[in-house]
């Protein structure tokens, strides 16, 4: 089993620290969901883990070997990043889709051309078009093709479903699960469309303001997350020993989100309503504070 480890990852841009000493361990054979608000540091973290960006401090290793500028290790990784629709003529956008995928086939050592051709046909991608002439959805499809056809042991996708319609998104999740079932590859997927993707995430990594808030098995997280609501006094009495998040008050009613720690139980004997939460609501509760 391979492990990608980040220790004390810090990134500073011109005096502004955007990642604060992140420690992270990614094991092979899992699908991780990386979720966080805009500007939380998800893309920066992914790019540091894959040597697209250097860390100001900290180390990233793969089975003990440093990742930075290490071709032996980079063979096992693939970061299919979100291609920006604002690609200029003089940069990557000048390339045609065919050329871009050809470079991928040359330099990604485990590239599967058959799969790439099948996906190009399925997505109806025009290979002769330049990247900067593609729609946001088409750019996402290029990202997905690179990610899936790379056959890399650890594959990172940054917002792969941005711009895709709901049918295309469903198809992406199907393809992802097919690929995962067949190969057992590790996928780390950052997305804002949390609830759709929650079913495929074995573990969720929540990033907020440059730190990892939690990294946990998705089902375990959902099993300990509850929304408690009722009369303000009852809710406060019930949650007196629990850490509450995202408190909402409306008149004399109050609602809070709680995450039970090991050994803690749900309050009993109080006149309150207890509901289970989905991943999106847990995320909003934990990362939506301070608005």
């Amino acid at each position: 089993m391979s492990i990608l480890t980040g220790k004390g990852i810090t990134k500073v841009y011109g005096g502004n620290e955007v990642l604060h000493g992140i420690d992270l361990e990614l094991e092979s054979g899992k699908i991780y969901g990386l979720i966080g608000r805009n500007g939380a540091g998800k893309t920066t973290l992914l790019s540091i883990l894959t040597s697209h960006n250097s860390a100001t401090a900290g180390t990233v290793t793969f089975d003990g070997e440093p990742v930075w500028e290490n071709p032996k290790v980079l063979e096992h990784l693939c970061f299919a990043r979100e291609l920006n629709q604002m690609l200029g003529v003089s940069t990557t956008g000048a390339l045609k889709v065919k050329e871009y995928l050809r470079i991928a086939s040359v330099y990604l050592p485990h590239w599967n051309q058959e799969l790439a051709d099948r996906l190009i046909k399925e997505f109806g991608l025009e290979q002769k078009k330049r990247l900067n002439k593609l729609s946001k959805g088409m750019l996402s499809m290029v990202t997905i093709i690179v990610a899936l056809a790379s056959k890399a042991e650890f594959t990172f996708l940054d917002e792969p479903v941005a711009g895709l319609d709901v049918v295309a998104r469903e198809r992406f999740y199907q393809l992802l699960m097919e690929e995962y079932t067949q190969t057992g590859r590790t996928f780390v997927i950052s997305t804002h469309i949390i609830e759709e993707a929650a079913d495929v995430f074995e573990e969720v990594i929540m990033v907020d303001k440059g730190t990892v808030l939690l990294k946990e098995n998705t089902q375990d997280l959902l099993d300990r997350a509850y929304h408690i609501s009722g009369h303000k006094d009852e809710v406060e009495k019930a949650c007196s020993f629990l850490e509450t998040h995202h408190e909402e008050t409306l008149g004399r009613s109050k609602g809070v989100t709680v995450l039970l720690e090991p050994g803690q139980k749900l309050p009993e004997g109080c006149d309150i309503s207890i509901q289970k939460l989905n991943l999106q609501k847990v995320f909003v509760a934990l990362c939506g504070e301070g608005e």
């Binding site: 040597s51 980079l74 693939c78 990043r81 990557t92 390339l95 330099y107």
Partner: protein
């Protein structure tokens, strides 16, 4: 092994494409220049073409080299690094690609002049090292500019070009006023032809290597964004 062959084919295709561009540029310039030529008979015209076309090939090649150097850094650098090439190996690949283009142009010029066999063509062959030096210098300039544009964007490139223009202007004015002589050009007339060429190649090679080192150092921690 398999991926090495695929990379060779990919860069080989690129090389061929840019050789064709150089030939096309040379042909256009040659045709523009040769419209005034008097056709004194087929053989004489062919002789003229064989004697003079290589000069246009060198000029066309210099133009193409300058353009592709910048575009290699602006386009291919970020794409190759995003496809898991290291920054150092990407710079090396770009340098090798440019050197192979220079060699291709020089080889083609050499073959054309060899086929010509005239006195003028023999002179051209002697001047090939000078052409090599010039092409290496042009490639070096484009590597500098491409690296600066990749690292610091268009503003960086504009500042670099302005510094070169102002510096060159001031040096020229200073030399023209006789206050400063860079060197006494008369020694060039007495220098043996082969040494003259060797000096050009050496200077060109030195510039090229310096540009390559500059690029590798400046881009060693370059962040890839798209």
């Amino acid at each position: 092994m398999r991926s090495g062959w695929k990379a060779f084919r990919y860069w080989g295709n690129n090389w061929l494409e840019f050789m064709m561009y150089s030939l096309a540029a040379a042909l256009v310039m040659f045709l523009l220049e040769s419209t005034g030529m008097v056709n004194e008979g087929g053989n004489k015209f062919l002789q003229e073409v064989l004697d003079h076309f290589p000069y246009f090939l060198i000029a066309g090649g210099a133009i193409i080299l300058f353009m592709i150097g910048i575009s290699y850094f602006q386009v291919y650098f970020s794409v190759l690094v995003s496809m898991n090439c290291t920054r150092r190996s990407t710079v090396l690949r770009i340098l090798c690609s440019m050197v192979s283009l220079i060699l291709g142009i020089l080889a083609l010029c050499g073959v054309i002049w060899f086929i010509s066999g005239s006195e003028e063509a023999s002179q051209g062959l002697i001047w090939l090292p000078v052409a090599a030096g010039i092409l290496l210098s042009v490639a070096a300039s484009s590597i500098f500019l491409g690296t600066i544009m990749t690292r610091w964007g268009k503003i960086g490139a504009i500042i670099f070009v302005c510094i070169c223009l102002v510096g060159g202007f001031m040096l020229g004015v200073w030399m023209a006023t006789g206050e400063f002589e860079l060197f006494d050009g008369s020694f060039l007339q007495t220098m043996p032809g082969n040494l003259f060429g060797a000096v050009f190649v050496a200077l060109g090679f030195l510039m090229f290597v310096t540009a390559g080192i500059f690029s590798a150092v400046v881009l060693r921690k370059m962040e890839i964004r798209s």
